[in-house]
Amino acid sequence: VTTTLQETKVISARFDVEGADRFEGYVANGGYEALKKALSMSPDEVVDLIKTSGLRGRGGAGFPTGTKWSFIPKDIRPSYLVCNADEGEPGTFKDRELMERDPHQMIEGMAIGAYAIGSHEMYVFCRGEFAYAARQLERAAAEAYERGYLGKNIVGSGYDLDFIIHRGAGAYICGEETALLEAIEGRRGQPRLRPPFPATHGLFAKPTVVNNVETFACVPHIVTNGADWFKGYGTEKSPGTKIFCLSGDVERPGNYEVPFGTTARELIEGFAGGVKDGKKLKAFTPGGASSTQFFGPDKIDVEMDWEAVQAAGSLLGTGAIIVFAEDVCMVRAALRYTRFYAHESCGKCTPCREGTYWMENTLRRFEEGHGREEDLQIMNDVAGNIIGRSFCALGDFSIAPVTSTIKLFSDEYRAHITKGGCPFER
């Protein structure tokens, strides 16, 4: 690892520019030029540009954004554009920072997207607990309305566009796009059966595109600099840059924007300064709590892009790298994550609702000193009855902390049995 590591700041380029979160500062630093350029193109040209750029959704699934936009039928109106700002994946904190530090960038990306799909009304579903981010968005939106970048006839283009902020109220599941749409419609945030997909039956049963904050943040840069420029970063199948969120036992936790394909080692040992207090690395998540497999130190050279992380047996997810030092109890960590899923399970389907509850209870037995050897098999059985049998991805992902830690750290579970309790300090 070199000592001259440098981030590749594209969507975080204005994070440290004083005043860039205000309209004047944003415009002085190149803001809203992309929107003007997009409005001079045809909507189809904008969709094609995003398709050609290879931009993939940053909310976790990595679905091609331009393709998603192209699914919107042209003969059904109105259509809606929705920004998923319900960031809640444990270990992830990029969307919050994108909204807090550069709210206009997101609004501009959304406006370009709305124009591309022919929508005149766009919504942002902002996580309820993000009070400051919501204030930043409110102010930015008010500024954009005042300057004619939102509202009727935006920047003299003849195109009308409204922007509505809808706050969540505390439910991780609303990060699932159909649950999010339910929440905007004033219902419990429970996922919808698909098909039909949001592309035809989304918000208010109309064609709808839902994209993540970070995805929209990329859009103005692609419009300004072109698809080839964007593909110049990252890998062939994962083009562009990505904000990785480093947290847990590292010296310098934070958001680091780098091209896809940067190794976990560069991120953990380089940017984040290595494991805290000179300790050894025990494990890390490549994509937050919902990484399908936690990684041990043997995976530290994995290249952080969708394909490479999947080939290594996990998922890139939101790019949240949570680092655990050698003295962390992985059973306790699994318990905390599993309790998260049990609490956040929406209760709609039985495998997730009941399975997460029993996994949590069984994990707690280990921590409290009542774990038994057969509990490992029981938990794996429960996990096997959740994955593939749940209504949405929350259930599928909920098993990861359990199955990962049993696979990598079964000796720790056994140490709990032998000691009759938790042998770790933290």
Binding site: P90, G91, D95, E121, R127, R167
Partner: protein, 211 residues
């Protein structure tokens, strides 16, 4: 799922009817959404009711239901689903402590235990002087600032257990919290709930021209 994280439900709290101001503001909120979609105003209206009573009371649920043409059950199903709608009157300062691993490893768990001890209340409860409520929450997505807690949804980050517990304890004596990690000084729970209803968000201006 209804778990201890959500707090116990209490239905015997007497509250006055929602005010005229509530109904004036409700009209504005409903107008933010397309004309046939007034139900979209439900979450904001629950925040607005919470700003009047300090929690979402069964009576408020009924009133909101009749305003939006929904049954008490339909409103209740939504109000009880989301953790930020409280079913018990909250203190002036709601302290939300993250205990997910990134925060727990940095002292979040210790802070929660300390607060329960020094305030003499469990998570989901409120001190008798109605100054402070504490709750245990999931990842607040500010993990670079671990340990993270919020006071009325304003972030406080990288504080030691001692200094955090001392600052929170001082709220019982009538102190107001210092500025949080983003520079904002939290308002009390009721005005913050009003802010959550989004009355300060821009209203749509172009919609009437849309077919």
């Amino acid at each position: 799922m209804d778990t201890s994280l959500m707090g116990k439900s209490r239905t015997d709290s007497e509250v006055p009817p929602l005010t005229e101001e509530f109904h004036r503001a409700a009209k504005q909120i409903i107008a933010r959404y397309p004309s046939a979609q007034s139900r979209s105003a439900l979450l904001p209206l629950l925040y607005l009711a919470q700003s009047e009573h300090g929690f979402v009371s069964p009576q408020a649920m009924r009133e909101i239901g009749s305003l939006l043409g929904l049954s008490r059950a339909e409103v209740g199903a939504v109000a009880t689903f989301y953790t930020m709608f409280k079913r018990d009157p909250q203190g002036r300062w709601l302290v939300s402590v993250c205990t997910q691993p990134s925060c727990a490893l940095a002292g979040g768990r210790a802070l929660l235990e300390r607060l329960q001890e020094t305030l003499g209340i469990a998570t989901g409860e409120t001190t008798e002087d109605r100054a402070i409520s504490i709750e245990e929450v999931e990842c607040l997505c500010a993990c670079d600032g671990a340990p993270v807690f919020q006071i009325n949804y304003e972030n406080y980050e990288r504080m030691s257990v001692d200094s955090a517990a001392e600052m929170i304890g001082s709220l019982r004596g009538g102190a107001t919290p210092p500025a949080g990690a983003r520079g904002g000084v939290p308002e009390e729970f009721k005005p913050v709930s009003r802010r959550m209803a989004g009355l300060t968000s821009p209203m749509p201006r172009a919609r009437e021209t849309v077919e």
